[in-house]
């Protein structure tokens, strides 16, 4: 695989006590492309995600992020909130983590915390109502409004996020992650629990994020219809190691992938994979 890489994971290893969740995993994600990380349950996908987004500290290996301006950031050395703040990596969660008691608009405003914090002069300028801060807040509301329109939730901007239907919450969480204006967007099973129509809308949303905004996307997904439709590149994991990678077409035909998903019963596996396309 060639091209402009935004994320390079090299020899990533993650151990929990004696259990090796991820072993010597190497893969990369290209800029302005959608890379999918797939694999059966327990393959270690979410562990990889947590290492990339700073929720776990890797036991070994390196994770490099290359920004558009050529700056290289070693993600395994940053921790916690700095990954989102400095490296501009945003993520969503497998079990949605919105702020349920806050409105959709407030959720998107919280996502712009760091930019607004700077504009408010670490609160002091904001407290006295400085015009610079008021402009910044207006711009933040505009950005939030724009994203609410994109995910088709503009009419529910002032409703509490906890009141939203499941599919709406998923879209709002993606909008919230995008409001941090990330270089790399990491989505942990964005299509989980969505019906066919909602999945299709999600695919469209992710494609528009890639095509219109040029944001690189890394996603974990079980819904093969989504993965096969939108991914530019797929990495397949099983038992903590990479077993295959390539274009959707290549991965679908790989016997190792089929074996991992459905034991050795190839015929059935082929049926599932074909069904997804």
């Amino acid at each position: 695989m060639s091209g402009d890489k935004i994320l390079s994971v090299d020899q990533l290893t993650m151990r929990f006590g004696g259990i090796v969740a991820v072993q010597d995993l190497s893969f990369s994600a290209e800029r302005k492309k959608i890379t999918a990380l797939i694999g059966p349950n327990g393959a270690g996908k979410t562990t990889v995600f947590n290492c990339i987004t700073g929720f776990y500290k890797p036991s070994g290996g390196s994770i490099r992020l290359a920004h558009d301006d050529g700056k290289i950031i070693a993600l395994e050395r940053l921790n916690d909130f700095r990954i989102a703040k400095q490296a501009k990596v945003a993520r969503t969660f497998q079990n949605i983590r919105l702020f349920p008691g806050m409105t959709a608009l407030e959720n998107l405003m919280v996502a712009q915390h760091n930019a607004l914090m700077r504009a408010s002069g670490l609160t002091f300028l904001g407290l006295i109502g400085a015009p610079g801060y008021r402009d910044a807040e207006k711009r933040a509301i505009d950005l939030a409004t724009d994203w609410l329109r994109r995910v088709n939730l503009l009419d529910r901007a002032d409703d509490a996020a906890g009141n939203f239907a499941y599919g709406d919450q998923r879209r709002l969480e993606i909008a919230r992650a995008m409001c941090t204006e990330p270089a790399l967007l990491c989505l942990d099973e964005p299509a989980a629990g969505l019906n066919a129509r909602e999945s299709a809308a999600l695919s469209e949303l992710l494609l528009s994020i890639r095509n219109e905004l040029g944001t690189s996307i890394l996603l974990i997904e079980h819904d093969m219809s989504v993965v096969m439709e939108i991914s530019d590149h797929i990495v397949v994991m099983d038992h903590g190691v990479k077993i295959a990678q390539g274009t959707p077409r290549q991965v679908r035909d790989d016997p190792k992938v089929i074996a991992a998903y459905l034991g050795a019963d190839e015929e059935e596996a082929v049926a599932v994979m074909e069904g997804g396309s």
């Binding site: 987004t53 700073g54 929720f55 916690d80 909130f81 700095r82 990954i83 989102a84 703040k85 945003a90 993520r91 969660f93 983590r97 919105l98 702020f99 349920p100 008691g101 806050m102 409105t103 608009l105 407030e106 405003m109 919280v110 996502a111 712009q112 915390h113 760091n114 607004l116 914090m117 408010s120 609160t123 904001g126 407290l127 807040e137 509301i141 409004t145 503009l154 901007a157 002032d158 409703d159 509490a160 906890g162 009141n163 919230r176 992650a177 941090t180």
Partner: protein, 441 residues
Amino acid sequence: MTPIPHKTTHASRTAGLTYILKKSLLSALVALVLFSLMVGVRTEAGSDGQLTYWTRFGEVAALVAGVFGGSIVIELLRQWIGPAGAEKLVPPAVQSGMSFVGRYLAPALLIFTLLVPVIFYNQRYILDLAILVLTYVMLGWGLNVVVGLAGLLDLGYVAFYAVGAYSYALLATNFGWSFWVCLPLAGILAAFWGVLLGFPVLRLRGDYLAIVTLAFGEIIRLVIINWQSLTGGPNGVPGIPRPSFFGIPLDNSDDGLAAKLGIEYSPTHRIVFLFYLILALALLTNWVTIRLRRLPIGRAWEALREDEVACRALGINTTTTKLTAFATGAMFGGFAGAFFATRQGFISPESFTFQESALVLAIVVLGGMGSQLGVALAALAMIGGFELFRGLETYRMLVFGMAMVLIMIWRPRGLIGHRAPTVYLTKAQAISSDLVKEGHG
């Protein structure tokens, strides 16, 4: 949300009848077991030293019947006036009336408060009580930042009150600094201690956080008691200067305010001045809190209460966010402490016991966590209400405790449970308390 048809609520109410009876019988049974030995059998040493005993089954029966009846009443109250979906049972006319009252309650209360010294000028007792209530309103608003907005359970808030009070008392008695110089210093010192407390508890949550903050409150009190050379230990700090009207003393000397204005001196002048001073401080607390809520830091506090992991994923520094919440709350506590010291003229460690922390926390919880108006109403109810029951003498605590239990059954999320959004596109809608998280420490 669509209102539940009347029929369903009625059905659920009658279906609950057996449940209520079962629950009350269970309570009565527990009461029977407890009281049969505690109350039913009395023992005493007889004239020759032998054990004599007699039974009092009548009293036991009365107590058990009381518990049975009481639990039926409580269950009925629970089903009819609360907690969940309480509004659904209220007719719409009453509901709209209540929202009308709600809209004008805060301004009406403020105007009334401003006029209190005018209306009750000759009633020293009421003025003193009003000052006390306002002090607790301010403390409640200060703690509300930590508990209500950031969702960090703080059981040692009185520590900052003490730091503020002792800061002013010691600076004023040792260096002769004026109240207006010491007030900001007291706030800054309290905020400093708030940050100091914040550091070790950053990783703690829930019960653990509560215990550490509780311990912190006790540590401060014990240090004050034992550091005799500085704080005077249990003897306290006497002779704390009274506040001046920006340099003009409020006494009957020739330089006093009364003499300068050419009016007759009255000790009430100082009380009225203290009243407006604490009112101004409380309103400052309120104003700053309302402003902070609409700034990124305030939204981050509330987001922290809702979901800390999501905050980190969005690049919010949870460490500094928590520390600023502790520092802001502590600063207001310090201001209130400085006011307390200047009002009393004498402070000792006895004023800063755990009971004070518990009382302020109760005000915040009763008011509805995060609601400014709710906290003010709760402070009025807790402090003013306690005085109201003074006529009941021995039974005062009993009645007061019962009233609190009833309020919490009626409104489990506090007097004002819903949350107002900090920003809106078209229309600000109140957010139901069912959705708002209480924080996890």
